[in-house]
Amino acid sequence: MLTFIRKRSVASLISLVGLVILVFFLSRLTGDPTDLYLPIDATDEMRAQFREIYGLNDPLIVQFGHYVGDLVQLDFGESIRKARPAIDVVLEAFVWTLQLAVITMALVTAAAIVVGSLAAFRVGGFFDRVSGVLSLVAASAPDFWIAIVAIVVFAVGLGWLPTSGTGTPWHWILPIAVLFIRPFGLIVQVVRGSMINALSSAYVKTARAKGIKTRKIIFVHALRNAMLPIITVIGDQAASLLNGAVVIETIFGFPGVGKLMIDSILQRDFTVVLASIMVTALAIFVMNLLIDLAYAALDPRIRH
């Protein structure tokens, strides 16, 4: 297990280094933050001064050298826009994203497993068809559109929920509900497919011959075997949530890392972009490790 983790870490580290280099240089092709940060009628002295303060006059490679030099001391640089350490800004936002991702994925997983398993049990049955169409619609809908419609209906029209923002548990309901839809649609389909496979396998026949109750066959015998591909998709979906649900965060005024990322990209706040990439990459790495551990926990054949 330890060698496995070490191997994985090395591979991830290589990717991360490549990513940081790529992002660092490519992002700097997209214009000078000076022009974006300073007002349009700023004086030339102010511009020169700004470039001096943030070391933008140095050749790119020198800037990169400085950046890496700081990075090895765990200094992720200063956010130009927010005038404070980029890592603080990112971690603050990431906590929100993490909570959103964890809660959403927990709900999605639970719901999708139940719905998908029941659909798989009677393939072609009424429940299968209804849930099939619903999950497809869910997987096909543009989320920003749903988000706005949801605000108009539930917050403005009915007044049941706050429109946006954070503060109380009520504020979480709409964003989570909207975020829930797409992964739910996708995962239900994967659960269904995987469960159909599992339910048609030989050991299920054994269980039936043993006289095991149907519910137990589905949720104990078949489900655990069907979990591997399901966990893989859950991981993929969770990873994309950890990268930040830009659209949803923007609409609901949720201070997550996706919104931070798009703002920083548009404002060319490179240190924040790089820091958020590294933080999310680390989070996804940890999540992938957890997924591998889950594989091993679920399937003894993988343990070795």
């Binding site: 997209t30 096909s140 920003f144 659209v247």
Partner: protein, 310 residues
């Protein structure tokens, strides 16, 4: 041990209908898939002929007739869905926008599928080291923020339909790459690959002639799903203001523009939203159908239904 009896040596082989007829029959058997196919055909027709027929109407502004409500049967059929904030008929715009929408989605899916599959085949069949290197590349692409990529490409190359295709294609490459590689790793151990090697087949021949055809159905299923995904991604880019920009039109862009008027003129973003949902839903349904129709062990489900229905 299957309950379904297999044919023994002496059984006479039943004659099978030709492949196209067979597929038509299977399509007929699944009414959802049939409806989906019809919708997609309509969309394709819109994309092919729409701009030529309605291009001018769709651009003709009428500031005084802006946000005209839908279901006004008095006016021409083009106005049945209402008009947008510049008084242009929404129905005509949706028809014309089909081309860009489909071009972007099809272009991105095609490019990413081609590149991803090619890399995946190499990664799966070449030496370990090459395979690992390609996988690391895939990791980098995967974790490269797609929005940043969009901003970089569109900043350097300018916002155009072709460049949006490039952005979306790059972000989707890893999907095909990983799937292909995983499948290749499994298929290369199969016996018919060994059989080909015993005959002296070259690696190229084994990959292209033996492995690729087996991977292809899976890739096609993914591509249909991805088509839907890319359409949504394109509209999200437009929504965030870093995708395709007017005067080009896509459905996603229409939603993004219409959202400003959502409280007063819901139809501006409703119809293109519906168009997207219907198209992606159709693609999803079709891909589900394909998963069964292309799998010889599942096919009977459709063929059975087709027979009892017809």
């Amino acid at each position: 041990m299957s309950n379904v009896p297999a044919m023994t040596d002496g059984t006479v082989l039943p004659d099978e209908p030709s492949a196209p007829r067979r597929f038509l029959r299977m399509l007929w058997a699944d009414k959802f898939a049939l409806a989906a196919t019809i919708i997609l055909l309509v969309v394709v027709l819109m994309a092919v002929f729409g701009p030529a027929l309605l291009g001018d109407v769709a651009q003709k502004q009428n500031l005084r007739g802006r946000n005209a409500p839908p279901f006004d049967w008095e006016r021409g059929w083009l106005w049945w869905m209402g008009a947008d904030s510049l008084g242009r008929p929404l129905l005509a715009r949706i028809i014309v926008a089909a081309r860009n929408t489909i071009t972007v989605a099809a272009g991105a899916v095609l490019c990413s599928a081609l590149v991803g599959t090619a890399l995946g085949l190499v990664a799966g069949y070449a030496s370990r080291r090459v395979g690992e290197a390609i996988m690391r590349l895939a990791d980098v692409i995967m974790s490269f923020p797609s929005l940043l990529l969009a901003v970089i490409v569109l900043y350097i190359l300018g916002p155009s339909v072709a460049n949006v295709v490039v952005v979306l294609a790059i972000t989707r490459i890893p999907v095909y790459l990983r799937t292909t590689r995983a499948e290749v790793l499994e298929i290369r151990e199969r016996m018919f690959v060994s059989a080909a090697r015993v005959m002296g087949a070259s690696s190229r021949r084994i990959v292209l002639r033996h492995i690729l055809p087996v991977v292809l159905p899976t890739l096609m299923t993914i591509a249909t799903l991805d088509f839907a995904y890319v359409m949504l991604a394109e509209s999200a880019l437009s929504f965030l203001g870093i995708g395709i920009q007017p005067p080009e039109i896509t459905w996603g862009l229409m939603i993004a523009q219409g959202k400003e008027h959502l409280t007063r003129a819901w139809w501006l973003s409703f119809w293109p939203g519906l168009a997207i949902i219907l198209t992606t839903l159709s693609l999803n349904l079709l891909s589900n159908w394909m998963r069964i129709a292309l799998d010889p062990t599942q096919r009977w489900r459709l063929e059975m239904r087709g027979r009892s229905n017809g």
